[in-house]
Symmetry: C2
Subunit: 207 residues, 2 copies
């Protein structure tokens, strides 16, 4: 817990359609905001070039994922593009109890589950300024085949419809500006009275 406010950490759920720049944005914000932990998701999807097991994702087989699910180890899980994704509940709980805010990068299905489980979570939706730009970014990434890009764009159209379910919206026009906005949101939530302890010891006690 934070020694001054004795506050529990806040869950910061970030979702975005592919190509909105979410991964880069989350990395930059983690470097910028102190006291922010990152929840590494478990997935059955194969690693992309450069991705490191345990850092970007915990890469597991479908059998392992299903066994973890059977043991109720996930705070949320979802199927996206035929791959399983999940967030382990235990490390999440430990970080929050220690007063750390935890950044989670998950899809709209997982976000819905977490909002139900953690009523105090805040959620942030990140969009590219237009679908055309989103398509361009996916192509520039060169990590996906054309049919995969088409599939991601179709899914993005669907996901974008969910933006109103989120507390905050960031339009990622320019990385620096979007990073600042996400950092602002996390810092501002730390000042929320509803997240603070029951009294201000210095001020409300008689002197």
């Amino acid at each position: 817990m934070d020694p001054v406010t004795r506050r529990r950490g806040t869950l910061v759920v970030v979702s975005a359609p592919s190509g909105a720049g979410k991964t880069t944005l989350c990395t930059e914000v983690r470097a910028m905001v102190p006291g922010l932990a990152y929840s590494v998701s478990v997935t059955t999807r194969p690693p992309r070039p450069g991705e490191v097991d345990g850092k970007d994702f915990h890469f597991v087989s479908e059998a392992t994922f299903k066994a973890m699910r059977e043991r109720n180890e996930f705070a949320e899980w979802a199927v996206v593009h035929d791959n399983f994704y999940g967030t382990r509940a235990e490390p999440l709980e430990q970080a929050l109890a220690a007063g750390l805010d935890v950044l989670l990068d998950i899809d709209t299905q997982g976000a819905r589950q977490l909002r139900t489980r953690y009523l105090e979570a805040i959620s942030v939706f990140i969009v590219a300024p237009s679908l055309a730009l989103l398509e361009q970014r996916l192509k520039e990434r060169k990590s996906d085949a054309p049919q995969e890009i088409a599939r991601r764009i179709a899914r993005a159209r669907q996901e974008i419809a969910a933006w109103r379910e989120y507390d905050y919206l960031i339009i990622n026009r320019e990385l620096k500006e979007a990073v600042d906005q996400l950092a602002n949101i996390i810092q501002a939530e730390r000042c929320r009275t509803s997240r603070l302890g029951l009294r201000l010891p210095d001020l409300t006690l008689p002197e």
Copy 2:
């Protein structure tokens, strides 16, 4: 209105017991955050040295204040230390309709009235780290007589009890940090989905 989001401005209500550093903080934040208007209060209190009519306050007689009140010109008004303070509704409405966020520096009574009238307002409470420090700051200010300082401290104790009524709390340990926190809060609220228009034209319309 903001040309992109067509959003209405947000009312940012800031309250603090005397000596919490509220006035300096608000001045710094206004210089730092673009698109932020400041509502100049009407008061019957005499100007302090250096205060400028129309900039720091609109200084009026008690008769004028009461006539304005009769004509329902105030969005809120209150009596503090035997002086009247009020916020004119019309310029406030105009600024909000134009998409400007408006910073208001008022006491806890006025804040209650504004929260009832403007459900979408956000409110921020600013406190000194301790009552001892608050007393010290009031003495250093040298603008008040000893009995006035005692009265302000007694009132501060009362007002501090209201901190939970506010959305956000800033503990003003160090000016720069507190200014950043208030700026973060205002910027973060601009990303609130509940404050944005009904759709994202670029993204949700078919291409």
